[in-house]
Point group: D2
Chain length 341, copies 4
């Protein structure tokens, strides 16, 4: 960490900072320029992070040198990429995962029909929500336990591993009965109790980026899971909030290659929520595959106009096989091939 002092910092203020750094067991390194003085703090990451010198008297800025995460970093695995195994399907490396299914589990028919369609088209995992976070308390919140039961049935019929969201720790055991991958939604990306428990339970997690979270914050959230001994985290870009009002969220595809540099964890993209519209989902999926994502998580519905939730952004089941073909072609440009059993 580098502590940049203000041009007006006094000798006393400089000394106070040095003492504070050394009090937590770190070493200091003083560099006096003509206009400003910079103090380097060298030592254990955790100690240095507790310093909280930002804003101290005479301090202009504190510039972290080391990344705040360790287990999530590329260095931790010496540049090797994590490749997860979910029920025999590989996620990461040169494998491209097609994770597809309904936004929300609505009925037995809809769930089983969609599961069959996505299986036939070569999907890697089946997704579907039993618990749905909704901005409005008046909106449909998912079928809950009944939804989990239907996901189990779809899994039994198709053999596809299941991804489903956990919102409330009190539902953890029930979700663990069904989920091969536990999804943590964007709104819960910094729900630290949830992250830690998912870490402890050991089940693979798909962690969505919060809608105004930096990549560093996303990786710190992953670190909460990894720290509990669970090495299986998939990161997911799903659109960020910007000033643009022409779309719901701005899909940040730059996040993919930059995350690839920062972390060994696989990175997938959810094009459905940002787009909010089926016709945008296709080009965004092609772009996500071409930019080097390890997969896509996408919504499919047999009859989108009857969907209770987010129908307009769901791909039509009939067109899903064609969609998979096109996305595969784009993934090939980035050197990846569809992951299946």
């Amino acid at each position: 960490m580098m502590i940049v002092m203000k041009p007006t910092a006094t000798e006393e203020q400089i000394r106070a900072v040095i003492e504070r750094v050394e009090s937590v067991g770190a070493r200091t390194h003083l560099s006096r320029g003509e206009e400003v003085t910079v103090i380097g703090a060298i030592g254990d990451r955790e100690h240095v992070q507790r310093l909280e010198l930002e804003g101290s008297p005479g301090v202009d800025r504190v510039v972290p040198i080391l990344k705040p995460y360790k287990l999530a970093s590329t260095q931790f695995k010496h540049g090797e990429r994590s490749v997860l195994d979910i029920g025999g399907r590989k996620i990461g490396g040169n494998n491209f995962a097609m994770i597809a299914g309904p936004c929300t589990v609505e009925s037995r028919e809809q769930t089983l029909e969609t599961a069959q369609v996505v299986k036939d088209a070569g999907a890697t995992l089946f997704r579907g929500g039993a618990y749905k976070p909704r901005t409005s308390p008046y909106a449909f919140q998912g079928l809950g336990q009944e939804g989990l039961r239907l996901l189990q049935e779809a899994k039994d019929e198709t053999g596809l591993p299941v991804v489903t969201e956990l919102m409330d720790l009190r539902d953890l055991d029930q979700v663990l009965d069904v989920a091969d991958v536990i999804q943590i939604g964007a709104r819960n990306m910094q729900n630290y109790s949830l992250l830690s428990e998912v870490g402890r339970c050991g089940r693979p997690a798909l962690l969505k980026r919060g809608l105004s979270s930096t990549l560093d914050e996303l990786l710190m959230a992953a670190e909460y899971i990894l720290k509990e001994g669970n090495p299986s985290v998939i990161l997911c870009e799903r659109g960020i909030r910007t000033f643009e009002t022409a779309y719901r969220f701005t899909l940040d595809l730059m996040a993919v290659p930059v995350l690839k540099e920062l972390t060994h964890l696989p990175v997938v993209v959810d094009p459905s929520h940002a787009a909010g519209r089926r016709d945008l989902v296709v080009p965004l999926s092609l772009a996500a595959a071409a930019v080097g994502a390890d997969g896509i998580i996408v919504e499919v519905h047999p009859r989108p106009h009857e969907a209770i939730c987010d129908g307009p952004q769901a791909l039509v089941a009939d067109e899903f096989a064609d969609y998979v073909d096109r996305v595969q072609a784009a993934a090939a440009v980035a050197g990846k091939a569809l992951s299946a059993v």
Copy 2:
């Protein structure tokens, strides 16, 4: 709700939208312009909200006419303002609440000393964190139960009602033993399980705006609490995320007068976290008072340089009485007076 059709929308698409609207029991109202057709949907808020027509074939945009919240709206109380009573202190109306205390409960001495200082300076409520949400899993996470015990002791000594944060529903009972107001942090603003339970428990809540939440989303989060029958919600602006890197968050003081128009709930401002620096806390507090906030929630520490967490942004206890005087003068400009017993 107004459904604006695309200029290219077909008659069939227009009919499909009308049928969909009427299928949920709402009435329609067709307005054909030379270039575009607009369909009005008139009916029950909840029904109309379930329509999810955005992105449907031929639909350009869906423009909500009614606000999505009801209990939080100004209309719900016919323009009258909510004035909460917290242990005899009034929050809202012409009362200005000074909510002060340490960021984090660190020790018995620090807690009791700060409580006495803020009480002597005329504070309305005492704040202090026993559970702290931290971006890093390696950072100090609060004293937990021991912290709650110290808050109780401070309350017993000074008589000041206590505001403290709840992060995990499993801690709810313990927090209820001490807290007069339950704080819900910015990262949990859309943790719907937490909101609903706080609604059910009936204890007054201080709800912080998420760092990229719109005012409508903040009010929808409040609606989750209100819907459970708990009418006592205090909203808190604490800084939003923007492109500016010169400060940690951009304190959005426009939110105060605009929220005052949208809702009957009291609105307070937390200047500490956005600023991150003591010297900015003072002018931001004056501005918050002048813009018409119903109070300030601010961090105070007897020896900020020894603080474990966020020391640089804490006001120095010795200077707190002067600070309260200045803020009172600014609140007077907006027609408010310090709220005390």
Copy 3:
């Protein structure tokens, strides 16, 4: 335009709005709901736009129904796409334009060498800056007239049409001597004098999106050019400003398919400035091609480490032919082929 009145709006306020609307020659259309009243204003776009009712007494919101631009809209050309012809090269439609060259013209050798490399690799147009907008007044501002002379020489040698930036109207005539396409930089996207003069001169324009401009604002800027009778505008997405600090700008690839829906004008992507780093330029270029862009404008330098300006983001000339091959493969996924003579 729909004028949504506040729930508290009085009859008098409603009447005042109606009178104001009718005073500019537009018709009104009143829709009274149980909670709010909505007034439709139907009439000439220009008249209605001058109403400026937002914020008037009793008015909650003004919702534009028609897009504020006309000549730039998809409807203006009845859904047909504009295909420009620049010195025999097609821009738009199924043609993918590779616009390449140095960020800045630095020397005769660098310019001619780069021009030859990009020509040999099949580039569509040659780009290079003689006038450079720089955040710092102390930074290199380009070679000016001498730079224009070198661009002419490159054009004479390779036959490639030239794209170069105009910053100051006083340089217009000199730029017109060389430029086949006049670039308008992101910082000048709302420099209305510049836009109008470029419109008047009739030369094709490449208009970059301002770094916090909405798509509507970009199209309104294009409308300034189109309105003067110049139909040849190429839009360019080059990254927007967000809260993310891991990259210089966030490349907004969603803008491409959304602009395609809103306008008949071609849309290209500049991946270099957002990335700021060569290794990110490649995946972003593949994504831009796969998402359906009509081309890429990219920086190439024979010896990037010697570049005066933005060297780290320039592609290395030796690797440019391979790059073009990969981008072509991605463009093919979106149904486009490289545009050449």
Copy 4:
């Protein structure tokens, strides 16, 4: 400047960076940590700024230590504040400037009437636009030369110095005939030709912050003016672009105390454009005064409902004297008094 190398940087890459730094005449300073190496570059600001090492092989980040501006910095005047003299009125220091007048000069009557009202209420300067930057080419663009003539008449009648906007360098001489202060609008904040010419002409300038400009960029824009020998620059915060859609722009009042720390230049606030509504202008003005601004620039109209442009945000002339009284009270809280002759 500190150059932070990647953990994977090779010795060769480190050597290459050192050579590059030393090639521009700066000294280097190597600091090897256990995980990363940091290279300090010490030397002349201009030389170091030309290095452009960001993105070079092995480089993780480049952290500037010195601010990129010099003449605008607090250090340049050794902590002393600039106080400008505009026709005998002081701007800066403990003086609070009330700059008021119509958004746009519309007619002789409106202009002279408003000028008299603001003069009588104690305004410091008179503002009014003859040239108006408009997002739409179809909107009213101002009266131009005739508007300048009316401003001259208002100045002759009231003795108030005039602030008016310059958009196009071709109008410079005419604007110089009337303007005591030349306003540079937010959209032109990075129009470098304009900035340099305004610098050369020597007339005081009021420079508005671009709507997504950082404070550093605002100060760099000021540096363009200062560098030409013109020391009289007033900075103006007028709202930034964020994700919030409840208001047009988010007024960033934190910018005021932070700018006060970074620069010796006076800082004023324009509350009208962000608010877009008269009822928000009042609380925002009080907040701006309380936060320590050196003044306010605000719109006033005798009959806002008849205004051609931005009527709803204009204060009503009849209520202006009361407004000035309230703002003065808020300015007093921050230790400032109204500036008049």
